[in-house]
Amino acid sequence: MGGELRRLAVFLGAVGALGLMLPNVHLLALNQHLFLALNVLALNFSLGLGGQASMATGAFCGLGAYASVILHSMWPQGTLVIVPAVAFTAYACGAAVSKPLEKLGEGFLAMATLCLCLIFVNLVLVFTPITGGSNGMMVSHHPMLPFIGELKGDRANFAALLALLALGGYLFAAVRSSRLGRALLACKDDALAASSCGIDRLSTRAVSFGIGGAFSALAGMVLANSTGFISPGQFDLGLSLKTLLFLVIGGPGKLTRPLIAVVVLESLIAWFHALGEATVLVHGLILAGALIAGYWRETGRLRLLPR
């Protein structure tokens, strides 16, 4: 646990130092990468610990963003209640969804959760009077924290994302080395053997799925606050697919490597945005290359890459 947390501290320190040096316009891009990194960390709870591949990241993230914006518009001073309440709701939803879907294999669970993501986006479109539909919603009130004041601006959101990554990373390492974490790893390695040892698979996996959902919701809240505007397009399948893709590239179960993969690959992809119509092609090639290189590294075909 100590070594992983040290690596996480070094990574967060390096990103923090980079953030201090960057001008605001580049900090916004870095915030986007950290938002994705927080989602990857959230997914790592369910996939890396419990072995459940989820594509519902977009739904949880959107739930957090929409709930936070709507509740803050009704009660601007209620941040200290709203944020934990929304995170807990996402946790409860995640845990409730996980139980009936637990029996599905990786691929089918991914597809089922992908459907949940699509259902969320369509519901946002249907309930236009509350959510603004396809036109989206403006963020009218920023969260208010005691002693800090209004959480506004790129620097404040950058600090919030770093704090959430540090909290999530610590929690991930703590859960993994706990009794619950060992039970989750047992479920991931051999579900039948885990059940034979008396582990309640449904409840155990529901916890990791729920924690992942809660962190995704927190990421959504920071995204809404950072961009000042939310729309269903921000929480569509693309977000869920990207999150799962980066976690698979970085290695499910590892703490720091997926986060580094997000920051490095996303920066690379953003750099290629200038290519215009070739962007999607290059984007796909980078991700395919990273996946194949990861597989070759695991099988020893690429001895030059660090194992």
Binding site: N122, V248, L281, H283, A288, L291
Partner: protein
């Protein structure tokens, strides 16, 4: 009035359902041989249709040559997809293989944007059938064409899988890969062939849907997903049931659009899928990895 609306819903539902059915067949072929959910299935339809569009612009294609060209290009595209995804990561974890099909879908979509641009392109109707009317039931020309194309594809595929040695090898791998290997069947070759056949089916689906909705660079993913829903409805095991799953999904979708809004239709469709997966999971033998 209601009967007229219903007849219209059945007409458009069957046209779309035939396409879903073909996509579902491709999905189940690949899934049964390799236990892989192919996220790039929709892109096979897209590229198959776009290649056919370009061919029709350059050459004068008759019905037979168009069908042949679609089949051949679909086969080649499916094989190329296999060679660039599962073929390079045969021993990898299933999730990594699945994610590589996602990346492949982006690559192929990107290639489609570069070559054909982002504007929708209308594919001409190569095989034309007259409209059909029987009492209150009315099927338009496009619907009849889509149905004939898809039913003929199912019949040919069924005959291939039942009557030929290669087809029986595909079925053997689907049932038990290890036993098939012991009988001298090469599962890797069967997987490549399944991808190629699914490419062929997707290209035929493009031929059916191209004249109806036009071809657009971002249409693949949604259609692929509907194919997956249809395959799950059909249960992955029998060709006719999987195809019927597609037809059923198309008609249900059209009726839901008629009764509610298009957004709510999508919500209900995916809710049905999630409920179906929860209540009627796949048989245990289909969950095992090859």
């Amino acid at each position: 009035m209601f009967a007229l609306y219903l007849a219209q819903a059945v007409n458009s539902g069957l046209a779309l359902g035939a396409v879903y059915g073909l996509m579902a067949l491709g999905f189940s072929l690949v899934y049964n041989s390799s236990r892989l959910i192919n996220f790039a299935q929709g892109e096979l339809l897209l590229l198959g249709g776009l290649v056919l569009y370009s061919l029709s612009q350059a050459l004068e294609l008759g019905p037979v040559t168009a069908l042949l060209a679609t089949g051949v290009f679909g086969f080649v595209l499916g094989h190329a997809l296999y060679a660039s995804t599962l073929g390079v990561m045969l021993g990898a974890q299933p999730l990594r293989q699945l994610m590589l099909t996602v990346a492949a879908s982006l690559v192929w979509q990107g290639a489609a944007i570069l070559v054909w641009g982002k504007n929708p392109l209308k594919l001409e109707q190569f095989v034309v059938f007259p409209p059909f009317r029987a009492g209150p039931l009315f099927l338009g020309g496009n619907t009849v064409t889509a149905l004939v194309l898809s039913v003929a594809s199912v019949a040919v595929l069924s005959a291939f899988l039942t009557l030929t040695r290669t087809g029986r090898a595909i079925r053997a791998v689907s049932m038990n890969a290890l036993a098939a290997r012991l009988q001298g069947v090469n599962p890797v070759r069967v997987q490549a062939l399944s991808f190629a056949l699914s490419g062929m089916l997707a290209a035929l689906a493009a031929m059916a849907i191209g004249p109806q909705t036009m071809l657009r660079y971002d249409m693949g993913f949604g259609l692929g997903l509907k194919g997956f829903v249809a395959a799950t409805l059909g249960g992955y095991s029998s060709l006719s049931r999987v195809f019927a799953g597609g037809l059923f999904l198309g008609v249900v979708e059209a009726c839901l659009t008629l009764a509610f809004s298009a957004d709510l239709k999508e919500t209900l469709t995916y809710t049905i899928l999630v409920a179906l997966m929860m209540l009627a999971p796949l048989p245990q033998n289909l969950k095992q990895k090859v």
